[in-house]
Amino acid sequence: MNILVLMKVVPDVVEELEVGSDGKSLDTSFLRTIINERDDHALEQALLLKDKHGGKVTLLTLDAPDIDDVLFTALAKGADRAVKICGVESVQSTQTAVRLFGDVIAKTEGLLPVDLILTGVSAIDDLDGLMAAPIAQQLGWPYSGVVTQVTLADKTATVVKEFAGGVRGEYEVPTPAVLGIQAAEKPPRYVPVAKVRAAMKSQTIETVDAPAVEAAAMVEVQQMAKPQVTGHAEMLEGSPEEVAEKICELLAKRGLL
């Protein structure tokens, strides 16, 4: 049972984000990136399936600053092989990422066959598409998204997909298939730094050159800006005790206390 996990890094929104000098994209000079949270769940789901059924988990990503840390961490967690697509400057478009991933998956020896391709159902920078469905379309494989559980038996993946209000749906998806993961069945596992260091010494990251792909210009960014604030909270200042007192007064005034 083999799984390919597609991952990418996204800006860490815990940090302050600034608009770059072109007025259309982020200022990357001090940008910190982290693994797309949903991709981290896709990795965890792949590792859970490997724990249960055996097989190999291969990671495929786009080169980016900090990507080696992400890949070695994933290898330390139990992934078997890591491949990064090099020679691309920061990929701003999900459509372009889809083309790069699709081309590399089809042409790189040993990436296929797999039973499943898992990737995060979405990312915070997915402006012009989501990864999984167009990859599935390209391969002619079935696709299911917003997935939170995967069970494998007899060339069929039984998946649970989230709707709203806590209602979910169960689907049968013949493999090989592409799944967009919303959340793994368990929180992404923790791996100690020592294990990551060990992975750095004992394992290698393979590279493939980025294929030339057509630029898709069907969506063009004109301007990026911080959201204009239409309403803003009335800010309460002071020590925690002072703030707590102010909140109590507010609640009393509103008849809530």
């Binding site: 800006p11 929104v13 984000l17 982020l26 949270e37 769940h41 999900t94 915070i124 402006l127 012009d128 598409g129 989501l130 999984a132 469905a133 379309q137 696709y143 299911s144 917003v146 039984t158 649970v160 989230e162 709707f163 709203a164 209000g165 806590g166 749906g169 169960e170 689907y171 049968e172 998806v173 967009g180 919303q182 959340a183 793994a184 898709a216 069907m218 969506v219 063009e220 960014v221 004109q222 990026m224 800006a225 911080k226 959201p227 309403g231 803003h232 909270a233 009335e234 800010m235 309460l236 200042e237 925690p240 005790e241 703030v243 707590a244 909140i247 109590c248 609640l251 809530l256 206390l257």
Partner: protein, 323 residues
Amino acid sequence: MAGNIWVIAEAWRGQVSEITFELLALGREVAGQAGAPLEAVLLGSNARELAQKLGAADTVLYADNAALADPVPENAAAALAQLIKERQPAAVLVPLTNLSVDVGVVLAAQLSVPFLNYCKDLKSADGKLAATCVLYGGKMEVNVTVAAQPAIIGILPGVRSVEQGRSDKAATVTDVAVTLAAPKVHFKKYLEPETADVDITQKDFLVAVGRGIQTKDNLELAEDLAATMGGAVCGSRPVIDQGWLGLSRQVGKSGMLVKPKLYVMLGISGAPEHVEGMKGSQCIIAVNTDAAAPIFNVAHYGVVGDALEVAPALTEKIKARKG
């Protein structure tokens, strides 16, 4: 840009979802600007009576097919792809819900066009579609022009009011036929929500915890605060994903829609998916260490500070007041 403006109606378990009316309100504006008719597209099986609710559109295209009874995105996308090829709309507005997003992305993939995501506003000017989309969990917005034909656009919940998109007018319904092949993916059954120990939708006071709560042990601070006013603790996605709270306590897109009298938020940045579930709360107080957190644009009152310090202080003050 030639062609009609389409809104894909979301009908689920016998009801038209509210977001459909929000999209109709937005679609009406865009259609007006473009000088084009607004059409709603409803897919279903024996659901024609639901089309009557979509009178805000100039016409409703209704496709009835037994294969459209269950939520199988592949079938819905195949049906829409056929209709789009026949009728060539300029723009196709898709609700960004867990239910409909897969229809939109599969449809876009089938037609080899982009799926414009996270759209919060849309205009037609000088023959072009211009959209505003929310990126990076609400920390940035981009203005984009869309040259794809048709443009498949995922619209966030809450961009217009539901009331704006409702109409007493009788809908003009056109029946359309679609031919569907057997799907690769099979819908088996619905899984209903777990029976909850607490129904958070019925509580007047909710303490919502997010990533900023840091550890499961710190949940106790939220429980203590909730207990002072007979409330309950709920959470945003990261807390649920960590397994710190059960699914029945999740507020937002996949979880519950809550409208309590008081919603106190501890360490929640305010990603659109969470805001969707709680923005109707009567009084929202947010505590977050990040002064630029988007939640401060939603909350009525805000505190830039450590939720782990503010929560116990507030618990003590409320207890003291209550004697």
